[in-house]
């Protein structure tokens, strides 16, 4: 049962967001008020950004546990949203820590970056919580707009400018199409509220004898696919992935690290939220696929998933630039995670949550390693990794851990994430469309094998190739600590994943239609 709160009463469920908003304003002010050339400028701004994230986290920890629909049913507060908020705050804090010691953010401009980054986080919070079509659209734009700005962040860099412009155009088209789909839905159903949508859709989807209007379904399905397109663009799923490699190459690497995990996770949160509230029948997540019984939903998402992982992996095979390689790898990981959505079950949703959690750590780690390598060599190609195991064993070993975890080898956490995705998909093998699911799982398994090839290329360069010259690789201390911590976490949760299961299990309660 959904309890709806009105505006002012909602505030106590909205404190983390309010704290973030205040923090963003504070950062903008600090950016112009702290002296430009001061040695402590970066430190002050970093501490302020971390403090802002910390306050938001503290408020999130004391969030009332009851599920609520806030602001007249615009925004949800439930354990599901809280899970994603923790994930976003974690990604933000780590990104701030990475950016603080990066060469790509000169001290005069780092304040803007932090402020924009936190704006993106605020947008992601809204993405994971929005309960209304309009709110959802605004949230996506709130994530996109600062992202465009940060993508073109490097002053005087042509590639950055190009990346930013492409991102803007692509994002504009995608969100336009999504908006178009949303308008269809509004036209069909007469409401923008997700919780009301499901009820109305059910009556539409009923047999003609019970007053259903079968002829409208085609419009409804096109609308659903258009909405999916907006989400697909956020998670960089094929065929809406084209912006991804260019933006990853042009944007500052710490932000790319964030972009590859944060908005992707927010996209999945939104997808679950929309398609559950919207397509759920009988209010439970298990009814996910039944609502629009005639839309072969698992087929649509399954095809999307298979194509995404295959194209991502095939394109990654011949990349020599580490950032582009990781861009394609992140596309293929979106494909893997889509398997969980295609499974259309509670287990499927849980597996997506687990995967995003694990993916956050391993992908941030991989990007961190790339940053450390680029700081020493000045570029970011696979050849720059040559002989890294002799130059800096810690960096080489942790990078290898991240790459193996991305491949999904045991005993690393990446294996656990993939394992649950496979379990979610294969649990359907005896049911309707079992062959579909088995095919999907087989394609995913083949893709895992393909991905091993290009990940191992990097590992081979690090451990077998001879170093090119007498280059000193000495990552910053904070990077070394983070590299170590990340790999330790991947190892730990690779053998002891019950906490992940329990946390995601507890976070599976969320508002569905009223």
């Amino acid at each position: 049962m959904t309890i709806t709160q009105f505006n002012i009463a909602s505030a106590s469920w909205f404190r983390p967001e309010l704290a973030l908003t205040a923090g963003i304003l504070l950062l903008f002010l600090l950016d112009v008020l702290v002296r430009k050339q001061s040695r402590y400028r970066v430190a002050v701004l970093t501490v302020a950004a971390l403090a802002c994230v910390g306050v938001a986290a503290a408020l999130l920890a004391f969030q009332p546990v009851e599920s609520r629909a806030m602001f007249n049913g615009m925004i949800a507060s439930d354990p599901f949203a809280t899970f994603w908020k923790w994930l976003f705050l974690g990604a933000a804090a780590l990104t701030v820590l990475i950016a603080a010691r990066s060469d790509e953010f000169p001290s005069p401009r780092i304040g803007v970056f932090y402020a924009l980054l936190l704006s993106v986080v605020l947008g992601m919070f809204l993405m994971a919580t929005s309960l209304d079509l309009l709110m959802l659209y605004l949230a996506i734009e709130m994530v996109s707009l600062p992202s465009y700005a940060i993508a073109g962040y490097k002053p005087g860099d042509r590639r950055a400018a190009e990346a930013s412009l492409k991102y803007v155009i692509y994002g504009g088209v995608a969100s336009g199409i999504m908006l178009f789909g949303l308008s269809y839905i509004y036209g069909l159903v007469g409401s923008t509220n997700l919780t009301a949508l499901g009820v109305r859709l059910e009556s539409l989807a009923a047999p003609a004898s019970a007053g259903g209007q079968l002829g409208l379904r085609v419009a409804l399905m096109v609308a659903v696919i258009f909405v999916l397109c907006g989400i697909g663009y956020k998670i960089a799923a094929v065929p809406w992935h084209m912006w991804c490699p260019d933006v990853y190459e042009g944007a500052p690497t710490p932000f790319v690290a964030f972009l590859s995990v944060g908005p992707k996770a927010a996209g999945f949160a939104l997808a679950v939220r929309v398609f559950y509230s919207f397509l759920a029948s009988g209010g439970g997540p298990e009814g996910f696929a039944r609502g629009l019984a005639d839309v072969p939903w698992p087929a649509v998402v399954g095809v999307l998933s298979a194509v995404t992982m295959t194209l991502g992996n095939l394109s990654a095979l011949h990349q020599n630039n580490l950032k582009r390689l990781l861009a394609y790898s992140s596309i293929s990981h979106a494909g893997y995670a889509l398997m969980g959505l295609a499974a259309a079950s509670q287990l499927g949703v849980q597996s997506v949550m687990i995967y995003m959690l694990v993916y956050l750590v391993m992908n941030l780690g991989a990007f961190l390693a790339v940053i450390a390598i680029a700081q020493a060599t000045g570029s970011e190609t696979i050849a720059d990794c040559n002989g890294l195991s002799r130059r800096h064993p810690l960096l080489a070993v942790t990078f290898a851990v991240f790459l193996f975890s991305l491949t999904g080898l045991p005993p690393l956490a990446g294996f656990v994430g993939k394992w649950y995705l496979f379990v979610a998909v294969l649990s359907h093998y005896a049911g309707d469309g079992g062959a579909w699911y088995v095919t999907l799982a087989v394609i995913a398994a083949l893709n895992t094998a393909i991905s091993l090839y290009y990940y191992v290329r990097i590992i081979r360069a690090m451990f077998i190739e001879a170093p090119a010259g007498e280059l000193v690789v000495r990552p910053r201390v904070s990077y070394q600590i983070m590299l170590g911590t990340f790999s330790a976490a991947l190892l730990l949760f690779g053998v002891w994943w019950n906490p992940l299961i329990e946390w995601t299990q507890a976070s599976l309660t969320f508002l569905t239609r009223g």
């Binding site: 002012i8 304003l25 903008f28 002010l29 950016d31 112009v32 008020l33």
Partner: protein, 133 residues
Amino acid sequence: MPSDYIAVTLVILVGTVVALQFWALAKFVGERRPSAAKDIAYEAGSDPVGDPRGRFPVRFYPLAILFVVFDIEAAFLYPWAVDFRELSCAGPLRAGICATGISLLGFGAALAFLVVLLVALVYAWRKGVIGWE
């Protein structure tokens, strides 16, 4: 209800009549003294001859954007002002009079809104958008 659209129809009618009336007055009553300067497309003083894709200094754009942003946000204050009496009353208004205590909700909301605007203004100012050097 058709009656709902009476007002709309009236507005359309009045608008059309007024526009036509000014055009007609100028056409039939106004005095005409054509000259070369008056025949060019815009009478704003600048010469419209040249490449239409000519470059403008980029400073125009931030300023224009700032203008639009602050303008629209100022426009937001009008609906707030209309509802101010109701927002400032802790209970429901009775015949326009607040019988219960005073609420700071209306004031606080506008204040928060203005603070955000102020921060934006300070930021733009310090970034040098308002100046023109």
